[in-house]
């Protein structure tokens, strides 16, 4: 019997290695795998590359992981946001690397990794500072930047419900970065609010097919904090 459901956060994160590229889903608090992030803090892996939209807020979650010196590099689109105090401190002190990627390019680079595409061209960032160091090329008179696939060793995602095959369904805008990140990592771990019997999730409502998910852990977190 295929059973991707594990009993604890610790089990869900077993084997995450130092130096891993970790894709972290969510957009703001919605769809954020907060229990898995806390679990990663416990788990101890260091020298991590964190790929996510923002560079953390406050001193909890990803910010805490950074503060503990466990993140070598952040790949994100929006490092400086309200409350990104830890990142800003570390960055100023030269203790964390940063790769800024336009939000759509970030998503597309992961989609490319998931779809067997090592590189693609996009007009986003053409002619701007963010094309520096990248190949550019004209197609039909327009300038494009060549972007490379971005693959994770681990993806931490959050979903509303899951079954033992790892099929995930999302609630409201809780999908966001989660579906694409789930497809783009060697090991995808999902934190979900509800477990369902196989067949209970409508085949058309599956947002992430189980083929992309290796481990599922149920955590009753209640609604995302949107203070």
């Amino acid at each position: 019997m295929i059973n991707k459901i594990v009993a604890s956060i610790a089990e869900a994160l077993e084997g995450v290695k130092d130096g891993s590229v970790v894709l972290i889903g969510g957009f703001g608090a919605v769809g954020q795998p907060d229990a898995l992030i806390e679990g990663l803090i416990e788990q101890g892996a260091k020298d991590l590359v964190a790929v996510l939209n923002n560079a953390g807020t406050g001193r909890v979650g990803v910010a805490k992981l950074m503060e503990l010196g466990r993140v070598r590099k952040v790949v994100c689109s929006f490092p400086r946001s309200q409350g990104s105090v830890v990142f800003e401190e570390l960055y100023r002190e030269g203790r964390i690397e940063l790769e800024i990627v336009p939000q759509g390019t970030l998503a597309e680079r992961m989609r490319a990794a998931a779809a067997g595409i090592p590189a693609f061209y996009t007009a986003t960032a053409a002619g701007t500072l963010l094309e520096r160091g990248k190949e550019t090329r004209e197609f039909e008179g327009r300038r494009y930047v060549m972007e490379r696939a971005l693959k994770g060793d681990v993806a931490l995602v959050e979903a509303w419900e899951a079954d033992r095959w790892g099929n995930l369904a999302y609630r409201g805008s809780g999908g966001n970065f989660n579906p694409v990140m789930a497809t783009a990592a060697e090991l995808t771990v999902a934190q979900v609010q509800h477990l369902r019997e196989l067949g209970e999730i409508n085949p058309h409502m599956v947002g992430t097919p189980g083929i992309y998910v290796q481990r599922v852990v149920q955590v009753d977190r209640g609604p995302p904090w949107t203070g």
Binding site: S81, P102, A107, T122, S173, G175, V180
Partner: protein, 214 residues
């Protein structure tokens, strides 16, 4: 001189959005535009985090914490709404499917260049978010911004001094003083001025040549 208030700027932009357009509003002032589209005019609002058919803020007590927009504010859905993930949401933007994007700006140049994400080449950690995707991908890009900075420096310029967000992407600018079209090969063309603003005053507060409509 009665410059447009932020709400008046947003209303001016809202007035120009025809029924049926799919529109992405940047965070900040552009978000106000949604409040001013007449309720009998169907405009579909897109949010980068995967929502097509975003509605207004929820009434007190009716909030759904799983529903936020790109600015992470609580929102509602309208009937006809749909969800997609981030990759598909940005494919809509980057593939030219969004009819209009309204963004804020630091500077807009007469060739349509936009600078709105970094204030210096030496700022090594600027937050770009989805701005470059929207600038490169939206069918039309309108900018909603004050005509000058707080210390009076023009934001309507010949060439952008700040790092660019996108090249030749802006098609119209709504400021507190005027509405300007950006016309390829011609530059800024004045569509409208705020009450009591005359062309000379407007020109004096701009660092690019302005043109009157033919």
């Amino acid at each position: 001189m009665q410059p447009f208030s932020r709400d008046q700027m947003a209303r001016r932009a809202a007035d120009d959005i025809p029924e049926g357009w799919c529109v992405n509003l940047g965070i900040g002032i552009p978000t106000l535009v949604a409040n001013h589209v007449p309720t009998d005019r169907e405009v579909v609002f897109h949010s980068e985090n995967g929502i097509l058919g975003m509605g207004p803020a929820p009434a007190k007590g009716r909030e759904d914490p799983w529903l936020v927009n790109a600015g992470k504010q609580l929102i509602t859905l309208v009937p006809g709404a749909s969800f997609v993930g981030h990759a598909d949401s940005f494919a809509m933007i980057r593939g030219g499917h969004i009819d209009l994007c309204v963004l804020g700006g630091f500077e807009v140049a007469e060739n349509g260049d936009l600078a709105n994400w970094a204030t210096s080449e030496n700022d090594t950690a600027p937050a770009v978010g989805g701005a470059m995707d929207l600038a490169a991908g939206a069918k039309r890009l309108w900018v909603l911004m004050e005509h000058t900075t707080k210390d009076g420096r023009p934001k309507v310029v010949e060439r952008c001094g700040y790092p660019l967000t996108g090249l030749g992407c802006v098609t119209r600018v709504y400021t507190n003083l005027a509405v300007l079209d950006v016309v390829p090969g011609r530059g800024f063309v004045v569509r409208e001025m705020a009450p009591g603003v005359d062309f000379e005053t407007l020109q004096s507060r701009s660092a690019a040549r302005l043109h009157l409509q033919a």
